[in-house]
Amino acid sequence: MKTERFAARVVLGIVLLVLFALVGTAHADVLWKDKFEQALGRGAAPQLVEEYGGEYIPPIWERMWLEEIFTRLAAQAERREIEYSLSVLNTFEQNAFALPGGYIFLTRGLLQLINGDETKLAAVLGHEIAHVEKRHGINAVLRQLSLTIAFEMGMIWLDVLPPELVRVASVTLLELLKRGWGRDAEYEADLLGQHLAVRAGFDPIGAVAMLDDLLDADPEQMPTHIFSSHPDTRNRRNRVEENIISFWSEPEPLGGKRQAEIAELGRILTQNRRTDPRSRFALSLSESPLDAGLLVYDQQRQETLVWLNDKIVQTFSWSPTGETLAVVVHDGPNSALVLLNRHGYVVEEWSPDPDQGTLTSISWSPDGKMLALGLTDAVVVTYVDCPVQIPVSGVAGGTDPIWLDDGLHFRRGELWYRSEPPTVEPVEVSNPVPRVLQRRRILSPTVIREEGSIRLTRPSLTLP
């Protein structure tokens, strides 16, 4: 009996499908699919929220920041029929989801991992919006339920969305969501998401930094499916790193007058960058190029120190804020970039691959977040907080980077070229709300009186 009814439904479905194919147009196809997509997302969203601990409402200031970034990204979406919405799920699992129809979800745990970094948040939200833009969810469900869909298509075409179909499809959708939309879909969402983020005025480095964070994250907090469903995170990270160069402008030769100016500007900038912006340390290279170390006179303590006393220093440059000192060191034919904090401690060290040649010069970006590295015949850009290599000079090569406000300049033979990084717009919340602050507790030491003397213990770790 059941088999007969099933067969009858299949026949009816096929008849309707043929009918639909005869009279339908591509436009009609898009319409029913969009309508079904909306219904599917709307139906699945409450189940997803319930499964992940309900909705979390972040504090107003964080919420406004989130909404501002989300609005900027959603404005870049091309599917005008989708009304994107963002919710935060009350779970400390680190994850994000996109349901068909534009329902984007972010977990509280991921929000914590992002820790106020707008470039990372833009990367995550861009990735999820990209899933909707590319219809990854709805297509996966349609593939999974092809027979049922074929049967129901006629009714959809007749402008009826059977609730049973939506319910069954929602269950399937949530199952598929946990497994992911597939390797190719993830790669596609990474790249499109990065593109959306750049168009919305965010730095494309966010995608790399976010994937680095996921690689470093505590596996206990990671949902198993994020690794099983998402293609190899290392691979994804490398792909988004390689994609960053596509957001830089093609290097263009400078006009005649500017050609003459640029070398002089570079010389002045190099000199300026050798002066501590906070006027405490006076740095100089050793008199002999064979002597190790960087001579440092601390004007506050009035003493002379030697930083990097086991390395031959070739050149150095303070970041614009004076937070970080970039130093190029040589050890025979090998060279390396060493980043020191303000007090002379090494925080990062990087050596070029042998096929990249020797590191010869450095130039900070005006905001101090990036460094241009001049190699034997290439200029690559790296970020202070994220180890990437962006080959700005391209295959034609280049050297002597000079980073000015109007872009990164470098020399190819006798000619100077300029390339511009993607434009980054700061996040400015419209209609902000004044903050409500509370006084930070100062941990005070405990005073112990001992036979006429007073002893102070370490501050108590428990707050009063």
């Binding site: 409402i57 504090p59 107003i60 400015e428 209609n431 004044p434 409500v436 602050l437 509370q438 006084r439």
Partner: protein, 170 residues
């Protein structure tokens, strides 16, 4: 009258406090006299926010300038902010103790109120606040936070605004 008597008379007439120390913000938007025993907190402050700690355990005083404020008046700015403080995700246990009332800060009409809320340890905190709408879509807030009102019931912000000077023409 002797010269010092003229000075005293001038100070009384023009309301410039004779206590405290002068403070000018980094953005040169305003200057103010800060009462004694209030210590500037450089680590808590930024170009948009200036924070001072008082002698009481929970006492703090802070001034904040905000950009992109689209409200039409100080009262509208204050109302929108208070609605958000009271809404989910706002201040836990928020209660308005004194309704909004008009107050003048060096020629700019603002809206003053007092409210309480609970901190993360469920302790009740008390705050007096003045919201102001400044030219060029800027909002401004003066706040005095404490564990409760001052013992004599006086308003610290009323004292503060007496020595307040904007650097713009109004």
């Amino acid at each position: 009258m002797k010269r010092f008597q003229w000075v005293i008379l001038f100070l009384v007439l023009f309301g410039v406090p004779v206590w405290g120390a002068g403070f000018r913000d980094a953005g040169s938007l305003y200057s103010v006299y800060i009462p004694d025993n209030w210590i500037y907190q450089a680590k808590e402050s930024s170009p948009e926010l200036n924070v001072f700690y008082g002698s009481g355990e929970d006492e703090l005083l802070y001034f904040e300038v905000l950009e992109n404020v689209l409200a039409e008046s100080s009262e509208a700015f204050a109302t929108a902010a208070l609605e958000l403080y009271a809404a989910p995700g706002g201040l836990p246990g928020f209660e308005l103790v004194e309704n909004l009332s008009a107050v003048e800060v060096d020629g700019v009409v603002g809206a003053r109120c007092v409210y309480t809320y609970k901190d993360g340890k469920d302790r009740l905190l008390w705050e007096e606040r003045i919201f102001l709408l400044l030219p060029d879509q800027r909002g401004f807030s003066l706040a005095y936070g404490s564990a409760g009102p001052r013992d004599d019931g006086s308003s610290l912000l009323s004292e503060i605004v007496r020595g307040w000077r904007w650097s713009f023409e109004n």
